[in-house]
Subunit: 420 residues, 2 copies
């Protein structure tokens, strides 16, 4: 099996001004094609440090991915470092220079003189065209090892990797084709999913099934390897079907879909609308829904009734109901949802009330207790949750986490009602 090593270049990464998300993103992409990253180096903008890290990375792995330091200013030294490591000179490539000049011309700008350096590539190496910016990448094979240098700007790096580097890598993988599919799940934990899948998740299996978790969304990666793409595709699709059947309604989507995207798609397809009435989540649910371009097609009204008075005056939740049961109660959540749907005239409405903390909790109603209600023509369903699995140290993060989990859980309840 081929291995990979990553080199990130930039003073701003070492000093903590920029978090290196490129290395992590590349690690995930390489995992998907069954090529483990065995080491990762970060160095500053310094020619000797760059040369040394390229040597180390080349000792570790057959595939070395390098990001950063391709900008036009004097402190961008990756081109020079790579040329020194490669043992050649930088040569001006006129075609690249024209592309960079074009980039500025299209924006009615004159190319600053500094940018000319970006058209220089080490002799004998291949330039990788950058369609999103002015920094071309560099690719070269050295003693049977593939080195690819990409810009540090994440969007530019990602496009260059997927369009120009990945196809080369797949060829390198002993001519075998790899197809990756992702299933996105919500509603249970990683260990539960592992139990449900049993031996399907064994390490030696092909397709290989990996599981990652982020904010309660669990992503299953199905990585099928075969002699040709068609066969790998068929293997991945077969597993996708098996997993989807085993996990049932826990699976909400594929690829990189978010819950809000899937819910939005279903609402749009079914020509239905949604309103929200939030208390403890304070706009988090509305924000998730409206993060999606085109949300105005189904999301019309939101209320953040943070005070009891607002619940009564703006939504019409009876003051004595809040008095009798408390603002954090099944009754109040249900009344918020019902009143919101009536006022907005939407097909669905969600009401959320709870205790996000850090203060305000009691023994009977602890921090993390949240009531979520979904109202529709078919009636009103209210459930309660205690989001207490979050860490208890960083108080601010607990609050954020409880609010995000509550909003995601509300989206999931709505999703299950939108299944046909």
């Amino acid at each position: 099996m081929k291995k990979a090593s990553i080199v990130s270049i930039g003073n701003e990464i070492l000093s903590g001004q920029t978090i290196d998300t490129n290395a992590s993103w590349l690690g995930g992409k390489l995992l998907e094609i069954g090529t483990p990253v065995v080491s990762s180096y970060t160095v500053g903008d310094d020619i000797d440090a760059i040369v040394r890290s390229l040597k180390l990375a080349g000792d570790d792995a057959e595939l070395v991915l390098i990001t950063g330091g391709l900008g036009p200013t004097d402190d961008d030294l990756t081109r020079q470092g790579f040329a020194k490591f490669f043992g050649t000179e930088l040569l001006l490539q006129n075609e690249l220079l024209r592309k960079i000049e074009d980039f500025f011309a299209k924006r009615n700008l004159q190319m600053p003189a500094k940018n000319k350096i970006q058209a220089y590539i080490p002799a004998g190496a291949k330039a990788l065209v950058n369609n999103l910016g002015t920094a071309p990448g560099i690719m070269a094979e050295i003693s049977g090892r593939l080195f690819a240098v990409m810009p540090g700007v994440p969007s530019e790096m990602k496009q260059m990797f997927e369009e120009l580097v990945l196809p080369e890598l797949l060829q390198l993988l002993d001519g075998r084709a790899v197809v990756v599919k992702k299933l996105r799940c919500f509603g249970t934990g990683e260990s539960n999913i592992a139990e449900m899948l049993g031996s399907l998740m064994n390490r030696g299996r092909n397709p290989l099934i990996n599981c990652t978790a982020s904010y309660s969304v669990i992503t299953l990666h199905i990585i099928a390897t075969a002699e040709d793409r068609d066969k790998a595709q068929r293997m991945a699709e077969r597993d996708e079907k098996i997993l989807t059947e085993l996990l049932g309604e826990l699976v909400y989507g594929t690829g990189r879909q978010t819950l809000a995207e899937v819910v939005g798609e279903k609402l749009a397809q079914q020509n239905k609308t949604i309103a929200v009435a939030e208390s403890c989540t304070g706009g988090t649910l509305a924000k998730l829904l409206t993060d999606i371009p085109g949300a105005s097609g189904y999301f019309t009204h939101g209320w953040i009734t943070y005070s009891n008075a607002a619940k009564t005056s703006q939504l019409g939740v009876p003051a004595d109901l809040i008095e009798d049961y408390g603002a954090v109660s099944e009754q109040t959540a249900a009344a918020m949802a019902r009143c919101a749907r009536k006022k907005a005239g939407t097909a669905f409405a969600i009401g959320i009330t709870g205790i996000a903390g850090p203060s305000g909790g009691s023994e009977q109603k602890p921090v993390g207790l949240v009531y979520i209600s979904v109202d529709s023509a078919n009636g009103c369903e209210t459930r309660h949750f205690i989001f207490s699995h979050v860490r208890i140290q960083a108080k601010r993060r607990d609050r954020d986490s409880i609010r995000l989990h509550a909003a995601q859980t509300a989206l999931n309840m709505l999703r299950l009602k939108l299944q046909i």
Copy 2:
């Protein structure tokens, strides 16, 4: 000047399942005390790889900070790797074992047998007590270089660094004291601030002034070094005063304060309340305000009037005003703010309407155009902005960025009204 190198250990970092925020956080902390990080290594859970990375890091710098791989399971090998590098055996420290047993006992749990390994420390090294978890850290001096191993869990690492490692480092800095102060600014770009500060930002100056930017919030780090703490403190305070005067109302706070925190504090102090009426930001502003614990003391009502009908029915914005000027207009923003303040009975109300994209823009009203209005007893101020400096490729990120900038800018307008 002393230099530092960072080693991050864990397969989950290499495979991209975890983004290594520890290295970045440590890089920032070390920058603050004037100790640059010159290299950073990431390796998997493998004894030989760990030993090699420790050697490389020790060659690079006088100070080596290591995180991760101190857990109780078989794939946590940092203890063993460090002992091999150090050339000694792991020894059971009974006092540590009792602390770990206590950790479980306090939670009414029996210590799993696996956790006993965490009480083993390389002979000759010092254990660092972990008050938040079961993994003690390790510290040792080797050939005049300081090595400190900390857990990978960020909250545990941060506490251990600040309480046990940082004091040792400060002693190492040739006995000189370092005091760091931070000023947080909003309302202009980094290059503008650099121009306003001129020679104050020169590299050789003491205090050293660094500038970092994140989502339009600019942080100035004032790093004063002197023979003793009192003197460093006085130097930092003097610069803080100079910078605050030079930058005027661009400075909104100190330390890690967010705009929402500062606005919340001012509202609470002045016993004033706020309501928001959002269109394009769809809850982002309300979320920022309610991210702050205790926001219920000043934030009472929020409306997300995403549709024109909602603007009219819920806020009372006249339908013909929207018809005449458009939903994205100065007039609509002002009417949203005025109506929201009237309905909520608050001291302030903010109205936001704009085009977050990716579609919906025109030549006259491009994507990124946002009107923000703040209404109070002193009248209504409406401003418009074109948040067009964001990247034009990743459409989803543009939308997120425009929405976040708009919400932050609204908070900043409110902050300036709350200055006394």
